[in-house]
């Protein structure tokens, strides 16, 4: 079980997007999410869609991974589409079923909102598909660095994130072990009414928490023994460096944004 486990959805690769500095990716996505709401006509949506499709193609990630990223939000997309379809009463009536009138405005509005959703989700999932969790942690630490001036515990936050990531597989193995141990004592996790199954989780969670606390205590001691005394005066092995390709991608993105502002009505 443990050997096939990959944390997050990272798909290894060597494309330009994979090799970008994670900070570049995060900053671009941050502005992209704002920019998506600027689009307001066919041309601007067309531009954004082309941009997203080109980005997806340039990562060389198999399409099934990208579609997998959309699965948790399918329901939301369809739901909002239907909502607009039923509730927007604008434009000429297209057709009528069981005396409910469907307007052209509703169809268009529904399509536009769904497209916007897809554009947002696809781009943000590209971040986690092409960046390892630890790179994202490093990038967040680096980007939040200015907040240190207002006493925001940036280093501690990043350390917490990276230790959590490191312990996810360990705790999953442990959960597996405990659930087998409890199953052998007759706890039934799989059948029965929902309420019963929820109750069966308790004998799983209690030992898991107890051992997690014990681990935390031992880890803290080991870290102290290894000379950890907070972020002050600490050097880092993993270093992020901006390269020419980051600048190139930035300029490209700014061009896309400028073009978008130009074509929007």
């Amino acid at each position: 079980m443990s050997n096939s486990m990959i944390i997050g959805q990272y798909v290894p690769g060597t494309s330009l997007i994979h090799k970008l500095d994670p900070r570049t990716k995060i900053v671009i996505i941050f502005f992209y999410v704002i920019v998506v709401f600027f689009a307001n006509n066919v041309l601007s949506y067309g531009l954004l869609t082309t941009f997203v499709i080109i980005t997806i193609i340039s990562t060389f990630i198999p399409l099934r991974f990208i579609i997998k990223g959309l699965t948790p939000v399918w329901f939301l997309i369809i739901f909002t589409f239907l909502l607009h379809l039923f509730l927007t009463k604008e434009g000429p009536v297209l057709f009528e079923i069981l005396s409910i009138k469907f307007h052209l405005g509703g169809v268009i509005q529904g399509l536009v909102i769904s497209l916007r959703f897809c554009l947002l989700i696809l781009m943000t999932s590209l971040l986690t598909l092409t960046t390892t969790p630890i790179e994202i942690t490093d990038a967040i630490e680096s980007l939040l660095h200015p907040l240190k001036k207002v006493k925001f515990p940036v280093h501690e936050l990043a350390l917490m994130m990276s230790i959590s990531l490191r312990f996810i597989p360990t705790l999953m193995q442990e959960t597996d072990k405990i659930s087998k141990a409890q199953a052998s004592r007759g706890v039934d996790f799989r059948t029965g009414p929902l309420k019963e199954r929820m109750k069966a989780i308790i004998p799983l969670l209690v030992p898991l928490f107890v051992s997690a606390f014990k681990r935390a205590e031992e880890l803290a001691m080991a870290m102290e023994a290894r000379g950890y005394q907070g972020g002050e005066g600490r050097t880092k092995l993993r270093e992020l460096t901006y390269r020419k390709k980051d600048l190139f991608i930035f300029i490209l993105f700014i061009c896309v944004v400028a073009l978008l502002i130009y074509v929007r009505s």
């Binding site: 443990s2 050997n3 486990m5 630890i134 990276s162 230790i163 990531l165 490191r166 597989p169 360990t170 193995q173 014990k214 681990r215 031992e218 880890l219 001691m221 080991a222 870290m223 102290e224 023994a225 290894r226 000379g227 950890y228 005394q229 005066g233 600490r234 050097t235 880092k236 092995l237 993993r238 270093e239």
Partner: protein, 278 residues
């Protein structure tokens, strides 16, 4: 030669009025010496380890490391000289990958990045884990994780390496790996080695053994000297290695085993000599 670790009448207890865990312990360990501290559970052996790098402070007596008195102020200096490997391989692995974990101690000490790269290479070479440099911890065995922990310690080039029951949670294969790694390190590096254990198998190779019983030093001596008192050791709750038990039994049967044999070869030698006398 100046002692690298010196305990001077050290006593320790937890809390305000807990029972004494250590009582008037006085001993010293020289540079490059390999010492085993053995004792049953609750004999205070792990407390001694924690006192050596300031995870705990004694209520009475003084601890000197490399000539420096252990105090709240000097504790960070002292931790530079004392590296520790703990019992649970999982709960001391901080980094996301092997190289991140080896770097952790160096990062804490503000070592330059280029220097870190070189030292990671050397340290992983020393524990024979070089090809695992970018591996995540959950893909490693317990023995491999402990070797990474040892690499993390030797990367900061300490003067003392303490193994606090470092092999207890490992399978026999992992245990052998660690014992080999340590034997190798002792020859190569300039450091004192302190093994804390309740397993008498691990004391065969050290130069000196300190036996603890109920917080007091019960005996010190070479492994041979200590293991001679087999039955006494069993009384204070320590397990005898098979060879020692065998020679004990032989003695009881009236077969005279002269030298206390510590290895299979030595035992063979003894038996062979005995036969030829008969």
């Amino acid at each position: 030669m100046n002692p690298i670790v010196e305990f001077n009448n050290v006593s320790f207890h937890y809390g305000e009025d807990g029972p004494w865990i250590l009582k008037n312990c006085t001993f010293s360990i020289k540079g490059n010496e390999s010492v085993a501290i053995i004792g049953h559970n609750g004999s205070g052996k792990s407390t001694i380890a924690k006192l050596m790098n300031g995870l705990l402070f004694p209520q009475e007596g003084e601890v000197y490391i490399n000539g420096k008195l252990l105090t709240e102020e000097s504790v960070w200096e002292i931790r530079k000289d004392v590296g520790m490997v703990f019992q649970n391989p999982d709960n001391q692995f901080v980094g996301a990958t092997v190289q991140d974990d080896v770097a952790f101690g160096m990062e804490n000490r503000g070592i330059e990045r280029k220097e870190m790269e070189i030292r990671i290479e050397d340290a992983l070479e020393a524990v024979k884990m070089k090809e695992y440099r970018l591996t995540e911890p959950h893909r490693l065995s317990g023995g491999q994780k402990q070797r990474v922990a040892i690499a993390g310690v030797i990367a900061i080039s300490p003067k003392v390496l303490i193994l606090d029951e470092a092999t207890v949670m490992l399978d026999p294969k992992g245990r052998t790996e660690i014992m080999e790694t340590i034997g190798h390190l002792q020859k190569e590096k300039d450091l004192s080695l302190i093994t804390i254990t309740h397993d008498l198998h691990e004391v065969m190779k050290v130069e000196r053994v300190i036996v603890l019983n109920k917080g007091e030093i019960w005996a010190t001596g070479t492994p041979r000297e200590i293991l001679k008192n087999g039955s006494e050791l069993q009384k204070i709750g320590l397990d005898m290695p098979f060879l020692i038990e065998l020679s004990q039994e032989l003695k009881d049967l009236g077969v005279n085993v002269l030298n206390e044999p510590l290895t299979t070869e030595e035992m063979l030698e003894e038996l062979w000599i005995l036969h030829s006398k008969m």
